[in-house]
């Protein structure tokens, strides 16, 4: 299986935040959901992929090419959707077509207008006047009009209603039916990803917390529930984001520890949302205990 995107040991530090040793790959023909809390480093990672941010160390390959050395060649084959429009607001669709066409070898105005029509976007309105959902579809239309093989979306559905979100997932599904293309889809709306993603990378605090197939993620972590007295303290240590309340507790736990779990406790599949919440809870537990020590 060939990888369309390979990130190895990506390190990038800003003031007060750092991406540490980020490593993951996306094979051809699949969708990867890139999830994590706001501030976990998803956008920084994407900006590093696009060579819009300077990497401190590490290597990013796209289509087998280096993300810095061959940035221009890569961008010919890359479609990008951001959470906000990157085009001049006073232009209309026709002007945008004329504006972008000279930059891409494989730009097809025919394809662009076909998509615009299919998405129901008006020809002569200023794109600045489009609704958020329309702007997103416009970016998708641009991304699909120059034979892009990899689509990268950074929070494309934030602020969109469920209908628009569903429409986007439909478009991505159709895009991926050609198995030479891939999608990297960063979002904090995990339900979008829950169903359609093949691979998932979970980013937390600038580090990769998990990367692999969605099935692997669900097989690896479970939600543990039960009464506080039924859980041994050693097992409790190994829980992630332990949440105790008067009549019970719930926590995230690695499925490797299944043998240690007494029958009184119940386990359940963990949704991606729950995983993110428990990881975050674990962080605040650690912070609290640090403060206690001080």
């Amino acid at each position: 299986m060939e990888n369309i995107l390979d990130i190895k040991g990506l390190n990038k530090a800003y003031e007060g935040f750092a991406l540490k040793d980020v490593t993951f790959s996306l094979p051809k023909g699949y969708i990867m959901g890139f999830v994590g809390q706001n501030g976990s480093g998803k956008t920084t990672t994407i900006r590093s992929i696009l060579n819009m941010a300077n990497i401190d160390s590490g290597k990013i390959s796209i289509f087998g090419l280096d993300s810095v050395e061959n940035a221009v060649e890569i961008k010919e084959r890359l479609g990008v959707v951001f959470d906000s429009l990157y085009l001049a607001n006073h232009l209309n669709i026709k002007q945008i077509d004329k504006q972008l066409a000279p930059f891409y070898k494989d730009w097809s105005s025919e394809e662009f207008f076909r998509r615009i029509k299919a998405f129901g976007l008006p020809d002569n309105k200023k794109v600045g006047d489009f609704s958020k959902g329309m702007k997103m579809k416009l970016m998708v239309a641009v991304a699909l009009s120059h034979k892009a093989e990899l689509m990268i979306l950074d929070e494309p559905t934030s602020g969109l209603d469920p209908v628009a979100r569903d429409e986007l997932l439909d478009i991505l599904s159709e895009y991926i039916s050609d198995d030479s293309r891939s999608v990297l889809f960063s979002t904090h709306i995990t339900s979008d990803v829950e169903r359609i993603a093949d691979y998932i990378t979970v980013l937390h605090g600038g580090k990769v917390w998990f990367t692999g197939t969605k099935d692997e993620l669900h097989e690896k972590y479970l939600v543990l529930r039960g009464a506080e007295e039924d859980i041994s303290s050693s097992l409790r240590e190994k829980c992630i984001g332990f949440h105790g309340y008067r009549n019970g507790f719930d926590a995230l736990i690695s499925a490797d520890l299944l043998d240690e779990i007494p029958p009184e406790l119940e386990t359940e599949k963990a949704s991606i949302d729950e995983i993110l919440v428990y990881i975050a809870k674990e962080d605040s537990h650690e912070k609290r205990s640090e403060n206690d020590e001080v």
Partner: protein, 242 residues
């Protein structure tokens, strides 16, 4: 270079919709004003090109900047194009100004106009305007070239600082220059009334050859500045993040 032209066309396709067209309207207005006698209007050509690139700054911020990271184009051409699209329209404006001055001057002398317009071209008011400053008609040519060069180079500097340090720093740096020039101009006009300072005619070289060299030199200076400032900015912003 092909890439620079591509980026220039890209940038102009943006300003076209937000004021670029005014450049052409102004050009027409100034030309008409010249032909009906107010020929110092030709000097308006020195600043008409502003309309072609100044509006770019209203767009080139925030989310829009991501497009420069998206397009398959090396970042340095984006920067080079910025300076080219300032310098070359200014040069063209300056040359248009010179041509218009030449034409109106020639028409005036060639009696091609009907009599009353003839009078208009060298009428009292316009003559007065020039003579108050102690200028001759031919002084305008040199003045136009020098003004174009000065203004363009200041603008190029402004954009250089803008690219490297941002809008506020650029304004803060350039304001003093503009104020100084304005003060010098006003000061000169006031002082000139009292005959305290040499007239413009006296300050400029007497020989035509030197004057022509001064004009050509001004335009050459613009090109040189564009190249130098452009290259410097490219190097200084090479690692800038979007």
């Amino acid at each position: 270079m092909k890439n620079v032209l591509k980026m220039m066309r890209f940038d102009y396709s943006i300003t076209k919709g937000i004021g670029g067209k005014y450049a052409f309207y102004f050009a027409i207005i100034f030309t008409v004003m010249c032909l009906i006698g107010f020929f110092p209007a030709a000097l308006g050509f020195v600043v008409t090109p502003f309309a072609l690139y100044a509006p770019l700054e209203t767009v080139r911020k925030g989310d829009f900047m991501k497009i420069y990271g998206l397009l398959p184009m090396e970042r340095r051409y984006v920067t080079k194009a910025l300076f080219a699209e300032i310098a070359y329209p200014q040069i063209i404006g300056g040359i248009a100004c010179e041509l218009l001055l030449l034409v109106t001057g020639a028409i005036g002398k060639a009696h091609l106009y009907p009599a009353f317009l003839q009078e208009k071209l060298y009428d009292d008011n316009t003559q007065q305007l020039i003579s108050t400053l102690g200028m001759k008609y031919s002084d305008l040519f040199v003045l136009a070239a020098l003004a174009t060069a000065l203004i363009t180079i200041i603008v190029l500097f402004f954009y250089m600082i803008l690219e490297i340090k941002g809008e506020t720093v650029a304004l803060v740096c350039c304001m003093p220059f503009l104020i100084a020039i304005l003060a010098a101009a006003i000061g000169y006009m006031l002082a000139n009334d009292n005959g305290a300072v040499p007239t413009i005619t006296d300050m400029l070289p007497a020989s035509t050859v030197l004057r022509v060299l001064l004009i050509i030199g001004s335009f050459a200076a613009i090109i040189a500045a564009e190249q130098l400032i452009g290259s410097f900015t490219v190097k200084a912003t090479a690692k800038k993040e979007i």
